[in-house]
């Protein structure tokens, strides 16, 4: 079967949903971060699929957008991991259920 | 002047083996179904690059050269028993390693430990796919082969990390931590230094860079000595060669991430260490030393031979540093990458960008590079020295000779030593 836009979008959607499960359900803060990375990747796949298969007035826009998404993802990963490490140092845990400084 | 058997674009022209494989593929294309010929082309490319480049250099010049040349540096003979002048020693080593049991500790993460050598080895083969061996001899002429090379060469770090972490050994874990930290730090100045190269030659393709250097008749090393130095240091660090071999520092953490490996698994790591060094040397000779071009010599000598010789000569540099230099500490290496190499690479980028702007805006000819080269060499020397001074390089403050006294009289305070 020749892969078309539908197929790429489906893969992107499945990848996104897997990332969503990971991000919502993991106990470990770093695990949650990995889920978010998966979702961002799924978004990138979708963006590039649209870029490749659909009409556009600006043919470079799709790739440009992906560049920005990757940049933001890198920045987000750096800050999130720094948060996790810093939190571990202060609270001896990276369990998201116990990250509740604002409660109690 | 054309010799009769050196006719360009004919299949029997040995200067460019791409012609030969192209002729074969053209014939095959007539009989085989569509698409299969591409697979065969890729196979031919890999096999050819393996046969004429990786295998001989890897086995005979890599392993043997490493041991023979370092042996000479250390005033010993090196292997000289197996085969004439010990040339069959690598084969004997490989046979011995294959016979040995590949131990896996009980507490180790078995599967990760088994996969790690494969993860480490596979990118090495991929690296050679984009290196141009001649005008038509490049397996995959990717337009972004420079970034491809950087991307693929960042993969083996994961293999090394998996090896170090899975063995469940404290020394291995140290090695893994160190190699990960090093890989992150040294990737930055490495990319920065190559950015200047890409900027000046206006291409991200390695083949394009060779053609650019061929056209302006000047190698990139003369135009960007800082970039070359930064590249060499960063690649030494990423490949765990001295003076930055902290990830497998033998005197400190036994063998780092290789501590628990034995047999051919260890052999894969060891052999591919040399493979990566060769790939880095090939990359450096492509980007900085003109690749397969040699100021017109490539008309008479097979271009792949020129390329291989340049690679080996560059590889000698690795051997030389390995044979002579001590090892730095990890915090010193980190500080060096961030405080010394990165600013230098940025300054280099600034200089190159300025020159590029002048070059294109004023519509100067290619000859202008012969003006840029001396300027850049002088600028490089001045910048390196000045930046070292700024960073506190004061060799004159360290007395290299002890104080000499005639009599044993107890404590003598060091006065005015300047330390």
């Amino acid at each position: 079967m020749t892969p078309g836009l539908d197929h790429f979008l489906t893969v992107g959607a499945l990848l996104f949903c897997l990332g969503l499960i990971v991000a919502l359900s993991k106990r470990n803060a770093i695990g949650v971060l990995m889920g978010i990375e998966l979702m961002l990747n799924a978004v990138n796949v979708t963006l590039l699929a649209f870029h490749r298969f659909t009409e556009s007035a600006n043919p470079v826009a799709g790739q440009t957008f992906v560049v920005f998404v990757i940049t933001v993802a890198a920045a987000e990963a750096a800050v999130a991991l720094a948060l996790a490490v810093s939190f571990y140092r202060n609270r001896e845990t990276v369990d998201v259920d116990r990250i509740n400084l604002l409660r109690s | 002047m054309n010799l009769p058997f050196l006719v360009s674009d004919k299949w029997y022209d040995i200067r460019d083996l791409g012609n030969l494989s192209g002729a074969i593929l053209d014939q095959l294309d007539k009989v085989l179904p569509y698409g299969l010929v591409y697979v065969i082309a890729i196979l031919i490319g890999f096999i050819a690059s393996f046969l004429i480049f990786v295998l001989p250099t890897q086995l005979f010049l890599g392993v043997l050269g490493e041991r023979k040349i370092i042996g000479r540096i250390q005033s010993r003979y090196g292997p000289n028993r197996v085969g004439p002048f010990g040339t069959l020693q690598p084969i004997a080593d490989a046979l011995k390693l294959i016979q040995k049991e590949a131990l896996i500790p009980t507490a180790a993460d078995r599967w990760v430990m088994l996969i790690a050598p494969i993860v480490f080895v596979a990118p090495a083969v991929l690296l050679f796919a984009v290196l141009p061996f001649g005008p038509n001899m490049v397996i995959a002429d990717v337009p972004v082969s420079l970034i491809y090379f950087l991307a693929v060469s960042s993969l083996p770090v994961l293999g090394a990390f998996m090896a170090g972490w899975s063995a469940n050994n404290k020394y291995s874990l140290y090695g893994a931590m160190r190699i990960v930290a090093m890989a992150i730090s040294y990737e930055v100045p490495l990319v920065m230094s190559l950015l200047g190269v890409a900027l000046l030659s206006s291409t991200l393709s390695l083949q394009g860079m060779v053609f650019w250097q061929k056209d302006v008749h000047l190698w990139m090393i003369f135009l960007q000595p800082i970039a070359f130095a930064v590249y060499f240091i960063c690649v030494s660090a990423e490949l765990n060669r001295t003076p930055a071999d902290i990830a497998e520092a033998e005197s400190e953490i036994v063998a780092g991430y290789l501590t628990e490996y034995s047999g051919m698994q260890w052999g894969l790591f060891y052999g591919m260490d040399i493979g990566y060094a060769l790939a880095a040397a090939a990359f450096a000779s492509t980007v900085f030393l003109g690749g397969w071009s040699m100021w017109g010599l490539e008309e008479y000598v097979p271009s792949w031979l020129i390329f291989a010789v340049k690679t080996q000569l560059f590889y000698l540099l690795f051997l030389w540093t390995r044979g002579t230099l001590p090892r730095l500490r990890i915090d010193q290496l980190m500080a060096f990458a961030w405080k010394f190499l990165l600013p230098l690479a940025l300054l280099n980028l600034l200089i190159v960008a300025t020159e590029k702007v002048i070059w294109t805006q004023e519509e100067l000819g290619d000859g202008i590079v012969f003006l840029f080269a001396p300027i850049n060499i002088v600028a490089a020397a001045v910048l390196v020295y000045a930046w070292a001074k700024v960073n506190g390089y004061r060799p004159e403050n360290t007395p290299k000779k002890p104080r000499m006294v005639k009599d044993a009289t107890g404590y003598i305070p060091a006065s005015g030593g300047g330390r």
């Binding site: - | 520092a249 033998e250 005197s251 090892r327 915090d331 002890p402 044993a408 003598i412």
Partner: protein, 369 residues
């Protein structure tokens, strides 16, 4: 260490089998990331109870034991023990014997420092090259030993009252030749390492021993001199006629690993000077006095020390007029020099600990005896 990242402290065993412990020696370090929080030495893997064995054997039979304590400097060990027994029994050594002892002790210092310098460079990561160069020169010295004593490592050459055999005919010209070429080797190592910026940053300011700690920690030899303390038994308490030779004591500046290294290098130059002088002024006459085989020194005790390659090498011998020593104690310099290892390593990184251990120049045979 600038590493700000905190992780779980855990215990790392450096040794007993480790490339940089120079034998079966173990340091249990508690590390936090790369920073060392605590260091504990574990030794005794090579313990042979020589002090007990020596109480069962005659004075002469004990000389081979001293070879096997510090197996890298057997001549110095022989010499220290023989001096102690001679002091106890009141035996004089003829001039030629003393000159030969000086030559041998200094050659042994050269050989041992070759090993020390090479192994130290090895520890800093200059893998194998300096050590191979040093071994090349050490082999030449060991050839001289072999020629004289018949053994290369455990020479067993000194005897109570002199030395075992006179020098062979070829010894003096060969030793002269070697002493002509030796300074070039020292300059080679000097140029390769002390001029190397990487070596400098790895050793300078690492494992600093303050002069107060050096004195209080009973250090000796290059460790003491590296901290700026001018102390050398050969000058302070001359034995075997060292007062006749002209040489200097090299001392360091601030007591870091680099100072100890350059002190060792300079000591090699001074040793070459001493050997040259001793060869030039080699007196004739007998090489040894006659000493009864079953020596029974008068009751009493004697403590004699020599400046071994690793520091003050003392022998404390107590006699009860019997044929064997009543008590035989060795003051092992590398054992006592290790007592400041914790102060040298704590706070530094693992890599610095290896450099610190290398700069002590331990010989495990001597630590454990």
């Amino acid at each position: 260490m600038t590493s700000a990242i905190k992780s779980e402290p855990f215990i790392l065993n450096i040794g007993p089998q480790h490339p940089s412990t120079h034998g079966v020696f173990r340091v249990k370090v508690t590390v936090d990331g790369e920073r060392i929080l605590d260091a504990e030495m574990v030794m005794g893997y090579l313990h042979r109870s020589m002090e007990k064995l020596a109480e069962e054997r005659t004075y002469t039979q004990n000389i081979p034991f001293t070879d096997r304590t510090d197996y890298l400097s057997s001549m110095s060990n022989n010499l220290g023990y023989c001096l102690a027994v001679e002091k106890l029994a009141g035996i004089d050594v003829p001039d030629r014997g003393q000159a030969i002892r000086v030559i041998m002790a200094e050659l042994q210092r050269l050989a041992s420092h070759c090993m020390a310098v090479g192994a130290f460079a090895n520890d800093t990561g200059a893998w194998q090259t300096p050590v191979m160069w040093a071994f090349r020169e050490r082999e030449k010295i060991l050839d001289l030993f072999e020629m004289t004593a018949g053994a290369r490592l455990t020479c067993n050459y000194m005897r109570i009252g002199g030395v075992a055999f006179d020098l062979p005919k070829d010894f003096v010209p060969m030793a002269r030749d070697l002493m002509k070429t030796f300074p070039a080797f020292i300059d080679d190592i000097d140029g390769m390492l002390t001029e190397n910026e990487i070596f400098l940053v790895r050793t300078r300011g690492v494992a600093v021993i303050s002069p107060e700690l050096a004195v209080n920690g009973s250090l000796a030899g290059p460790m003491l001199r590296g901290s700026g303390i001018a102390w050398d038994i050969r000058k302070a308490d001359p034995y075997c006629g060292y007062e006749k030779y002209d040489f200097d004591i090299p001392i360091g500046y601030q007591g870091d690993s680099f100072d100890r290294f350059i002190v060792r290098l300079e000591e090699m130059r001074q040793s070459v000077r001493i050997v040259q002088q001793a060869l030039d002024a080699l007196p004739g006459g007998p090489h040894s006095t006659q000493v009864p085989l079953a020596l029974r020194p008068p009751a009493g005790e004697a403590y004699a020390r020599v400046e071994g390659p690793r520091g003050e090498l003392g022998y404390y011998v107590v006699s009860d007029e019997g044929p064997s020593p009543y008590r035989f104690h060795i003051r092992p310099p590398s054992f006592i020099n290790l007592s400041v290892l914790k102060e040298m390593t704590v706070g530094g990184s693992v890599a610095d600990a290896i450099v610190a251990l290398g700069s002590v120049d331990i010989v495990v045979g001597e630590i454990d005896r």
